[in-house]
Symmetry: C2
């Protein structure tokens, strides 16, 4: 009887106790394992952000942009949970400045771009989630990267997965950032040649090899290539400044009718490419126009940005990427940039037409574009698992 | 109709979406809020540890003791989940050395004593848990603390609570460590005067005031005071080297029959105090004897410990605390120190008699006692919530 009891105890033990464990998946790809990258418009679990502090990226010791991050995090947290990752040095400050319902977790970092340093999550139809942990090299490594070193940033994806007990793929040295890709969740991806074929990422790979890699890791059938993005010198033209999926079969694209606008050519070209494209299901895409700011935005007070040996210096009058495209879709909402520009309201109106079932919320992100990014760049959404 | 739909959506939203939020509880105490510190023998959720790396605490660059931590973590993980907190500098090393089922999370720290830097958890009967975030000052602050600074260690309790969405009490500057207290979960606490009345902790408070503070934060009716611990110079005599609760009404106490053993007097005195004590329920305690090592252990190879300006230097021949008492109770198990001493097996046998329903597992922790602690010191258990 005692032996039987012990056996039953042991069996019960095995079934009752199974700790969350984050494995490194080896030898297979998400496609082989039945995982896909969902569209951003699909249901989400939470949003990850990284607290900004680089005084050689942001103006005035990053204090103004910290206020912007607080506002963005607060806006998102009205719709779903937010975790803010923060260096040990800034932990107390971030905790004190952020509302109590934002979770604050220590994590070393080189800068604040969670979209590019966080994992790209993939899900399957069994209610499981995994992470793609791309190699991160600060948008171009030693060729044209924006800072050195970037080792802490490159560890963020792994650390997030480990923190949450999520298995992850370390993608064999393939360099990619989350801002360079948008999917429809049904086999189609949009990206830019300017970025993915740049010399600082995967120069040894052909366009076809890069496409194959994306197809394997994100479970795709088709990649739609836009030629150029709008920031050749920073992210080498991330697609998340240019276009995104609104829902399967529909994309939003940056737009201006003004031939004197500095991004006129890029807008026209991207719109043309997307209007002529078909997706993985053979659908012709519906393309929504999203205005650029009426007035181009140029960097001011660049003198308050620190000098740094290995960071690209910022100069007064540098053109900033005042695209409204870098918004974030959340559960029931859209968090969109505002600049104090005449077209701010138009952009919100256009977004509300694209997303009639979501509440569109604007946040002033002028300070953020001075630093080279926007709302989508500083957030990484974690999709909800579904069955 | 549209308005009604909006209202229903809004109501649904409020009920569906409630993020885990970690508040700082202000103006009340756990006792007032109906929370109590459970006994270590009650059901647990997980165990927290902090990866060792101080080369001025541990021998040979802390490499041998890292192996010990791996062994302790692995032993615990056979019974319940373990999270290992680790500095950014050691993250990759710790992740590679630890089994995959141990969760590794970055957290800055000054040293590796999770029992003393982690939160003391309290639970209520509604299935809720909160943390007590005592002030930590490295066992004596500027009076007789063991290192400086200790600011990262003092933040660990808050960070753990924040990480897990657990509300916490910052205990108004009251200095305490988890190793200084053991409870029966039914209103009784054991501690030592040597530690709690030390000059480096709360010298402005009387014994009665300290007792009141403990009663408020841990929900107690009675504090049993043992006079001395066995390590006056390090933790100022933490009780977890001397005695602990086996279950309500029963305690274990260090013991030696050998009048020449260096801890003979302390063993006799603690045993006498506990044998004469009654608990909060008026029960006379049953006291289990747990042997000390037969041979006292003295520090060897102290020359491999780094010199440091603000750390107490280690010397060859220093007496180490080879008490078997510093074990950890886990779900279905007991993880106990072993030293390669003649009484190793006796200690395991005595523990198995005390805990007939648990599997007693020994781990060699000689390297750990050279650093001044043991299994209980390097672990903080998180109790399971119960209804």
């Amino acid at each position: 009887m005692n032996k039987l009891f012990g056996l039953l105890l042991a069996i019960g033990f095995v079934f009752v106790y199974s700790p969350a464990m984050a494995r490194r998946v080896k030898g297979t790809t998400p496609k082989q394992d039945g995982f896909r990258m969902p569209g951003e418009f699909e249901k989400q679990e939470k949003v990850w952000m990284v607290w900004p502090e680089r005084s050689d990226t942001y103006r005035n010791g990053a204090k103004p942009v910290q206020e912007t991050f607080v506002n963005v995090a607060r806006a998102i947290s009205e719709f779903e949970p937010v975790t803010m990752l923060v260096s040990n040095a800034q932990y107390t400050n971030a905790r004190a400045r952020l509302p109590e319902n934002i979770r604050v977790v220590e994590m070393s970092n080189n800068d604040s771009w969670a979209r590019d340093t966080g994992p790209t999550f993939v899900i399957n139809d069994k209610g499981e989630i995994r992470g793609c942990d791309w190699t991160f090299n600060a948008w171009g490594g030693l060729v044209d990267g924006l800072y050195f070193p970037w080792d802490d940033d490159d560890k963020i994806a792994q650390k997030i997965c480990e923190l949450e007990g999520i298995d992850s793929y370390r993608t064999e040295g393939f360099v990619l950032e989350g801002g360079a890709i948008h999917t429809d969740g049904e086999g189609t991806l949009i990206t830019t040649e300017m970025c993915l074929l740049s010399k600082g990422r995967n120069p040894e790979m052909s366009k076809e090899q890069i496409e194959d890699k994306l197809k394997e890791y994100l479970n795709l059938e088709k990649v739609i290539w836009i030629k150029d993005g709008i920031d050749p010198d920073e992210t080498n033209g991330h697609v998340d400044m240019v276009a995104c999926f609104v829902r399967p079969g529909e994309v939003a694209c940056i737009w201006t009718d003004d031939p004197n606008h500095p991004y006129y050519k890029e807008c026209q070209a991207a719109y043309k490419t997307l209007s002529e494209a078909t997706d993985a299901k053979g659908r012709k895409l519906k393309v929504w126009k999203l205005t650029m700011s009426k007035e181009p935005v140029y960097l001011k007070d660049a003198g308050s940005v620190d000098y740094a040996e290995n960071a690209v210096p910022r100069k007064n009058g540098a053109l900033c990427d005042a695209s409204y495209m870098n918004f974030l879709i959340v559960n029931g909402g859209v968090i969109a940039p505002q600049y104090g520009d005449e077209y701010d309201a138009l952009a919100l109106k256009q977004l509300q037409e694209m997303f009639p079932d979501r509440k569109v919320v604007g946040v002033n992100t002028l300070e953020l574009i001075y630093g080279g990014g926007n709302i989508h760049c500083i957030t990484q959404h974690q999709p909800a698992v579904t069955r």
